[in-house]
Amino acid sequence: MRHMPLGLYVSRCNGQVDKVVDVEAAAAAAGERAEVVRVVDDLFEPAVADRIVRDIGDAELDSVVLAGNSADHYLKSLSGDHLRSRLVFAGLNPNKIVTANILEQVALAHPDDPAGATNKARSIINVACIRAELGEFREGIESEPKRAVLVLGATTEGIVSAQRLLQLGFSVIVADRGAGTSRVAETDSMRATVSYVMGHPAAEFVDHASLVDGQGWVGDYEITLASAAGTATYRVGGMLLADPTDAEWVEELRGHFKVDVDDEGRARSIDPRTHPAETVDPGIMVVPAYAEEGNVKDKIAAADSAAIALVLKLSKPVSVHYRDTSDVDETLCGGCSTCVRTCAFGACYIADDGLSHVDVRRCRGCGKCVVSCPVGARDIVNSPHDYLIEAVRSLAEAETEQEKVIGFLCGGCGYPAGDNAADVVASTGKTYPASFLPVRIPCGGRLDALYVLEAFKSGFDGVAVFRCREGHCHNLIGNVDMDRRINLLRTVLRSRGLDDGRLRVVDISPFEGERFVEQVNDLYESLAGSTSQEKGGPQ
């Protein structure tokens, strides 16, 4: 294996981390693996980014671990996004930039337990270093963002955003489930805007439409709409959900793209407080639903905000998509097709060579096919099998005072809920044990039965899985498939004399930090009730 120089940057997060965690001790977790180790006040200060960029050049770093904020922070904060972009520009592969969450799920979660928090931070940094080492280079697919937008819903918001986009030189397709155009045209105050859009040569209207197929990614989607006039396929750079009350569009979109939904089946943004329009798919915007019916002023503001968010994404000269799956290992795949039937998006197929391949334009990176593959012929680039097995083993070695629990947190709901638990700890003072050690997985469907077995084998007292509530999985049924597997796995555990009560599955929404804390504590209580005789692993 060739030497892969690693840089570790541990952030004090302006006093929030080092108030609890001994950052120097935590940074020592990198050991000899890291070429460069620095403790900084704030990763997002321009001077720190400059420093990292210089290190990349001087020490020829090929991967960095950024210990501080949650990985999700980088999706939501402009400064986080900017730091990542700078590191990529400096020559790092995006899959080699790894975050270690020692803020939300360590320092803020365990304010009263400095020793426990420091050990936990060490373990999490160690796992991030393993991930940096084992993550492969991701191949980027470059394209020029299409300056065309599909607006779903000829609502007031839809027409206003269409008008903005047309003025900025984008072409627009406005699709409506009913006779949307005639309906909107009746609105007095909108008449001028409607005539502008309807008369524009770059605007097209599709009434009585439904979305029957979709593929691609931000900058380059391919969407097929069905209507009375038949079906037609459009290539667009982005989509704008302009009918926030219509769950049907959302339901159809979810069959092809990652969309987070609330209890009413409406599309939800990544954070209603800070990013009201952006969804987990960077090319799909949702008009925030806070405007009351009849309040045209707010609707226009919401449409503006969604349109500008999309314009920012599509105004880059080049957009790069990084594929989520590795190529199939031809020496392993026997063409059994379990992956084909498992994929909810129809991305896996058996080609003429008899092997399983992935249509990258349809793949959403959930990892279900990887788990279903009985021979390990394919992997998920950002959470490869070898990494997850190593993560389980190395977390098991963490020094803890209490029983050790590993938490597999799905990226859709479990992980953000874990981040949000930090707010609950701050506001209520309720904490949970620092011996709860989280591992982020892209989706509940990425949870391989092998990881649970390995966790018990390595000495964990409990295994918790936090995944999306039913009907809320970004990957449609990743959570359902996980449950099916877990239920069968319980039989396996019991056959070895293991108490399957030590394996807990929790359904949760991204903002349910309180439930997160409660459920972790509840699991600890039930573990304290079971006798050591029932425990597995080395005795």
Binding site: T331, L332, C333, G334, G335, C336, S337, T338, V340, R341, T342, C343, A344, F345, G346, Y349, I350, G354, K368, V371, S372, C373, P374, V375, G376, I389, D448, A449, L450, L453, E454, F456, K457, L476, I477, D481, R484, R485, N487, L488, L489, T491, V492, S495, R496, G497, L498, K535, G536, G537, P538, Q539
Partner: protein
């Protein structure tokens, strides 16, 4: 050129692998021209001899097996593990689902187990590789004759021999239809026992007929003899990668393909998933038997 000194040791197994070798018929004669059989259940020699190649079949199930295996390793340059018992622990490995005492009392009831001269049972059934270094592994219950001969040829020539790595579906000629289609539905409405169906389509993938077939979870190399005889794969070749245990991967692979509820109510889910490879699974035995060095 001097003949290769070949030995053959049988541990806890059924000697079916030996029969597979004898199935080579006249090829055996050719083989015997290049080897000298220095130790085997078939020759009079009662002491293990120094040799170039030793074939070991059977799993490690008694204290005697441990000794015999260590001696074989010591006296042979190349050790070949033959058959699923040797490589994976085999079907006898299912006894690991019970504690040693439980197994003995199940067999002998209230009577005391005869002690004189009988070696004690190991805590659990183990594959050879748990005890010694194995140079060539040939799984299968029993391994195909040609496969066995090719591994033996390699051992005699001092060459490496690798097991094929893909799953069994590669070799199986059955037709897949539903499995190739993107759908949220299972490929069959229910899961059936083999005897429950009046008819089994001999051309179509077993999974699509609602029958549990271990093919996806099983290493190729058997020639798909069972599925050709209209019997679903039982998984005798073990997993393609030894770190991918068959039982857990059965759960992973089939839960989204067949109704999980139906799989759950199989007569013997564990026996199906771990029939040949229990001793190489993550938990190779019930946990009360421990995982210490004491075999």
């Amino acid at each position: 050129m001097s003949k290769t000194r070949l030995a053959h040791v049988v541990l806890g197994g059924c000697e079916g692998c030996y029969v597979s070798l004898l199935d080579a018929h006249e090829d055996i004669v050719a083989l015997l021209e290049s080897v000298e059989l220095v130790y085997s259940p078939l020759v009079e020699e009662t002491e293990m001899q120094k040799c170039d190649v030793v074939l070991v079949e059977g799993a490690v199930t008694t204290a005697h097996d441990v000794e015999a295996l260590r001696e074989a390793r010591q006296k042979a340059d190349t050790l070949v593990g033959v058959g699923s018992c040797a490589v994976l622990g085999g079907i006898g490995g299912l006894r690991n689902l019970y504690g040693r005492d439980e197994v003995i009392s199940a067999v002998y009831g209230d009577e005391e187990r005869p002690g004189d001269g009988l070696p004690g049972l190991t805590k659990r059934v183990r594959p050879l590789s748990d005890i010694v270094k194995v140079d060539i592994n040939v799984p299968g219950c029993a391994p195909k004759t040609e496969t066995l001969l090719s591994a033996l040829d390699a051992a005699i020539a001092g060459e490496e021999w690798e097991m094929p790595r893909r799953n069994m579906c590669e070799e199986c000629k059955r037709e897949k239809k539903a499995l190739l289609q993107h759908s949220a539905e299972f490929v069959s409405d229910s899961v059936y026992g083999l005897m429950e169906l009046d008819q089994i389509d001999p051309e179509r993938c077993f999974l699509e007929q609602g029958l549990i077939c271990m093919g996806p979870m099983t290493r190729e190399g058997c020639g798909a003899r069972c599925t050709e005889a209209n019997v679903p794969c039982r998984g005798c070749q073990g997993p393609s990668r030894l770190d991918f245990e068959q039982g857990a991967k059965m759960v992973d692979a089939l839960a989204a393909v067949l109704p999980a509820g139906g799989i759950m109510y199989l007569d013997d889910l564990i026996g199906t998933g771990y029939r040949f490879s229990m001793p190489v699974s993550v938990f190779p035995s019930v946990v009360s038997e421990g995982d210490d060095e004491d075999v």
